[in-house]
């Protein structure tokens, strides 16, 4: 095993509204094997207690911009899981 095989992506995840309520928290820290995608993070979050209430493919944003689930994650990113928007 090389050192690279142990590389981890650590990031901060923000949850809002019904998703925060489902998980019982609005911020969490995740550590994923590299390379990691948004979908990897979503799957990890959905495995947490209450996470099964989240959709399999929620709307996500990384560093304040909407992204697709295939988008890559790097350490220090801020991932946000966004329930259906309801402004206005």
């Amino acid at each position: 095993m090389t050192a690279a095989a142990h590389s981890r992506v650590t990031l901060r995840v923000q949850l809002f509204a019904s998703y925060a309520e489902a998980l019982g928290q609005d911020v969490l820290e995740l550590s994923l094997d590299e390379p990691a995608s948004v979908l990897d993070a979503v799957q990890r979050i959905r495995a947490l207690p209450g996470g099964d209430k989240l959709p399999q493919r929620p709307l996500c944003a990384v560093n304040l911009s909407q992204v697709t689930l295939g988008a890559p994650l790097k350490s220090g990113d801020e991932l946000a899981l966004l329930p259906p928007m309801a402004g206005g």
């Binding site: 923000q14 809002f16 509204a17 019904s18 309520e21 944003a61 304040l64 911009s65 909407q66 946000a80 966004l82 329930p83 259906p84 928007m85 309801a86 402004g87 206005g88």
Partner: protein, 143 residues
Amino acid sequence: MFLTSSPIELAALIAEVQSGDRGGIACFVGAVRDHQHGRAVTRLDYSAYEQMAEVECARIIAEAEERWNCVVALRHRTGSLLVGDVAVAVAVAAAHREEAFAGCRYVIEEVKRRVPIWKREYFADGTVEWVDASAGDLERSRS
């Protein structure tokens, strides 16, 4: 700052966009409605992903201002609002009314679609629900 926890004053928004070369000012004001799908509503609590909401509002305004050669002022409330309270207001000024109306319509529709804001609805019967606008659209499209 486009999000505010204070009451929204439409006159202040109009003053922000008014100028001698802009003869048309279109406004939209969204207020808390006393019913939703036939059920009586008493109040709404608004929350937001504030950093992203600010960025997204700025993007929407830049798009409208470029497309219709207009100037846009926008505010959206956060916190607890009662029936009749203003939740969102848009004022758009342009040389002529056509651009002002078009820009105003664009901004409010994009705000509802793209800005990460959520609301919790308090019904008169004591129940409380997160509003899912996408589910509402589905429901309306079926009716």
